[in-house]
């Protein structure tokens, strides 16, 4: 137990709203070991940001309230800690990097001032902070860091701002990083690039990170372990491949994987004595001559590397399948699908995997 860097135990957070008390996070527990990257994955409103805000003491109380639970950092509970100590934790042990870097940088100060502030707030002298800021700006890949220090946030591009935000986080040598939807605001190409850079930085710093995101690709690529959230509850915790191969319930099954898993109810499920069966688009064999399920091709989406087809079958409903990029399938074709029974997921009436 003692080896967990960060451990969230039975955390519940609720908010008082006009329509009554809303439980944003319910009895949540997870832990993070040193050097590990944990992703907290969930859709909007699943409580993922609330749980990270609780760690950073960002929840406004009231209207928010942490009704129960502990957040242990190195075995010390953050929630019962006096505010001044908590500030030190925020400053030195955990660094948070936000979604929109422009709004997270104060528009009236230079970037250099703001990076330095991360150190000067906690008593480092200004000259030392300046040298450190200069070194880090270069490290995160800002061209000409010497001059960049005297620029204002609005003079940078989106990606550069995010790099600035990152150097501001790194400068304190925190024990853990908390990324809150950090890449969501960047365009696709930049996101990929930054993803790779963050991973590299991770390896260099041997960092421990929590990665809050709604993007499963991000979670799958960055994390050693993923916590899947839904409506304030943890649905499953596991490694990316575990979640992909052995989803514990219907929600995770439908959430992880793109395109999403085909969930089939009705006669095909009853044949196998379960309430629902799930088969991933990539786990079905396609044939034009014979197979288990007969169907006609509806829409074919060509992505280049793959083609996703929506197939209307007689007994299994509409299924999505993944075929080769150069497939000849087109609208109206009759095809036969054979699911790989070994890779089929079975769920009972409560939606749990069996």
């Amino acid at each position: 137990m003692a080896d967990h860097l960060l451990e969230v135990r039975n955390l519940s957070v609720e908010f008082h709203t006009a329509v009554g008390v809303v439980k944003a996070v319910r009895d949540m527990s997870y832990h993070l070991d040193r050097g590990e990257t944990l992703a907290i994955l969930g859709e909007s409103g699943s409580g993922k940001s609330v749980s990270s805000s609780a760690i950073m003491n960002l929840i406004d109380m009231p209207p928010g309230r942490i009704s129960s639970g502990q957040i242990l950092l190195d075995g010390v509970d953050l929630l019962t800690m006096p505010l001044s100590q908590r500030r030190e934790i925020n400053g030195r042990k955990i660094a948070m990097i936000f979604q929109d870097p422009l709004s997270h940088l104060n528009p009236v100060y230079t970037v250099g001032w703001q990076i330095r502030e991360a150190l000067t707030t906690h008593g480092t002298d200004s000259a030392k902070a300046q040298a450190e800021a200069l070194r880090l700006l270069g490290r995160v890949g800002i061209p000409d860091p010497g001059h960049a220090l005297d620029k204002y946030p609005h003079e940078f591009s989106g990606g550069q701002r995010q790099r600035v935000a990152m150097s501001r986080a790194i400068i304190r040598h925190p024990k853990a990083f908390l990324f809150d939807e950090t890449l969501s605001n960047l365009d696709a190409r930049l996101r990929e690039q930054m993803r790779a850079e963050i991973k590299k930085l991770h390896a260099d710093l041997k960092a421990t990170s929590i990665y809050v995101t709604h993007d499963q690709v991000e979670a799958m690529t960055m994390a050693d372990k993923i916590v899947v959230l839904n409506a304030g509850n943890i649905e499953q915790v596991g490694s990316p491949m575990e979640l992909y191969n052995r989803p514990r319930n219907l929600f995770v099954a439908g959430f992880i994987g793109s395109p999403r898993m085909n969930l089939i109810e009705g006669v095909e499920a009853r044949k196998r004595d379960v309430a629902t069966i799930g088969i991933r688009p990539e786990h079905m064999a396609v044939s034009v001559t014979d197979g288990l399920w007969k169907g006609t091709v509806g829409v074919a989406e060509h992505l280049g590397s793959d083609t996703f087809c929506h197939v209307h079958t007689e007994t299994a409903g509409t299924l999505t399948i993944r075929t080769a990029g150069d497939t000849m399938l087109k609208h109206g074709d009759t095809i036969y699908l054979t699911p790989d029974e070994r890779r089929m997921h079975r769920f009972n009436t409560e939606g749990l995997a069996v």
Binding site: L58, I89, A95, M96, P107, V108, Y109, E117, H154
Partner: protein, 305 residues
Amino acid sequence: MSIEATAVIDEPPFFKRMFRMLLADKFALCAAIFLLIVLLMAIIGPSWLGDLATKQNLRGRNAAPFDFEKAWVWWMGADALGRPLLARIIVATQNTIMVAAGAVLISAVTGTVLGLIAGFSSPRVSQIIMRLADVIMSFPSLLIAVIVLYILGSSILNLMMVLAITRIPVYLRTTRAEVLEIRERMFVQAARVMGASSKRIVFRHILPVVLPTLTTLATLDFAYVMLAESALSFLGIGIQPPEITWGLMISQGRQYLTNAWWLSFWPGLAIILTTMSLNLLSNWLRIALDPVQRWRLEMKGAKNG
């Protein structure tokens, strides 16, 4: 990659940069020069023209302006007791600026600090401060002034305090409203995450963002305070003759408005020009101090010279 493109030019030091930006805005430049003159007058006026401004000359009562054969102090005419108006305006500058600047400064600082506290602290503290502001606002300001000045006697300091107190709610409410908005902004959260103390967040992160609004407000208030002071002087509880202020001069000239307009006109003009200059300068300052807007002035400056 604008970073690389502009990196070649070294940034000049702060004051040089500000001066260049001032040159770029001609209106602001005029305003700054005018205000400099006013300031100079305020400092040297009373010792320079003090005697001349208070010496009565009943033969020259309400002498008309633009009589350029007389000495220059008479060019704006004379008041009801035959005292040269131009000299009086110059001498009055000191009191006027002292009362107005003092009142604006006191009310702005107090109001801002209270507003910051009200905006950032617990709802309870905020409530107390806001109700206090409501009390001040619901009381007719002139009534407070009359009572206080009656009790304490009228002096420049008391006048300053009274005017300041009545204007505090303006700054308080503005600041609080801005703080409530800005504290929800993400950079404040980022500062919290960084472990900054509340004091630091309020003074280093929120205040600089509110400040431009407050400067504009303060310059507008400058005119208001000058006129309020004249109203009090008119009631006889403000500055007492033989001390003079522009406001007092206006009210003294009021009974002669129909036959000697210049009695009130010149001090009125002085008030208008001063506030207008302040306004122009604050407008310039707002842009010059805003890193996002600054290029407007710098670009203009580059084009001009």
